[in-house]
Amino acid sequence: MFEQTTDKNWSLLDKQVLETEYDIVRIRQLIRSHAKGIQMGIVDQTRITTAVSELLRNMYNYANGGEVQIETGPVEGKMALIITCSDHGPGIENLEMAMSDGYTTGMGLGYGLPGAKRLVDKFEIETQKDKGTTVRLIKWR
């Protein structure tokens, strides 16, 4: 999965399980502190934290929770923070629609996924019906 952007030189900073709504808050705070830890500026900290928040909420709302992996390392020669969110939920039925502004199957605004994509430098998503969804966010430092 995500062949081009998987690198053995990345180091794992954290791995977290998302189960409750409180975990969203907790993991978000962790992301912010890791972003700070690799000297990201306040705007980038806010962007990556907000992008991750979208994915966490989606996992909580649509997939009954999931897992988050936080890594750091080079991507295309530049240091980056890499966040991978994966779940074993129902998968996203219509990915193209889900990635477009304003599409929601729930009561949301439908800006979570496309918004998260705009907030980071690289965005990869893989989803399979009844298997789950994995999203990888990459933000250069």
Binding site: T46, R47, T49, S53, G108, Y111, G115
Partner: protein, 228 residues
């Protein structure tokens, strides 16, 4: 003579079986307590010892189980307290107050999960009805992350307040959060926003004054110059 010994032996074995059956049935008081000294008495004594050990073990287990149950009960009690405190905090953390004639202020602190937002929104709407205030300032300086869900809640709150006749001003959006909201793509242009709480309050007071001067017109006579 031989017959007598055999009969004795048979009785003793029967007794052993009885005792074992009693123990198996839960009677930990049963013992063989043989007084005869012979080849069999070693086994009898060993069985008694075993029963003794077993009784000790069972007692220890019972004590342990009781301890575990006590601890569990205590934890459940604590959990209840925590839940209660969380509930209290929910109420406390959305204090709506009337700071000025006609102006309500709601400082939003911390992370807005869906439960808290619900409470916050209800409190605000109730207060609007109760006081008849027509301006409400929602200060989100203390909110670290504004994602689509928080934005959605804010939009809904503002819309509901508007239906009740109150105009909301959202203040305390940091430059980083402002940029993030723009990238998310959320349109907050229907909401009046101010950089700081102070700006919002000055604006609200001017608004108040203007509407006093021009009564009985709407307090938001200039509603079309929103988001300047």
């Amino acid at each position: 003579m031989m017959n007598d010994t055999k009969k004795d032996l048979k009785n003793r074995i029967n007794h052993i079986e009885d005792v074992l059956a009693s123990v198996a049935a839960g009677d930990m008081e049963a013992r063989i307590n043989s007084e005869i000294e012979d080849d069999l008495s070693g086994i009898e004594a060993a069985i008694d010892l075993l029963i003794e050990d077993l009784t000790d073990e069972l007692k220890k287990r019972e004590v342990m189980q009781r301890e575990v149950e006590d601890k569990l009960a205590k934890i459940q009690e604590q959990q209840k307290t925590i839940l209660q405190q969380q509930q209290d905090l929910l109420e406390l953390s959305s204090p709506v107050s009337k700071v000025w004639d006609n102006v309500l202020i709601l400082p939003v602190i911390g992370t807005l999960d869906s439960q808290r937002t619900q409470v916050m929104m209800e409190n605000l709407l109730e207060k609007i009805v109760e006081t008849g205030c027509t301006v409400a300032i929602l200060d989100i300086t203390g909110v670290p992350t504004v994602d689509t869900q928080v934005a959605n809640h804010l939009l809904k709150t503002v819309t509901s307040a508007r239906l009740l006749g109150a105009e909301c001003i959202i203040s305390g959006i940091s430059p980083a959060i402002a940029q993030t909201i723009v990238h998310l793509g959320i349109d907050l242009s229907s909401i009046r926003t101010k950089a700081t709480l102070q700006d919002a309050m000055i604006f609200a007071m001017k608004q108040n004054k203007r509407s006093e001067d021009s009564r009985p017109h709407s307090r938001f006579a200039d509603a079309d110059e929103k988001n300047e």
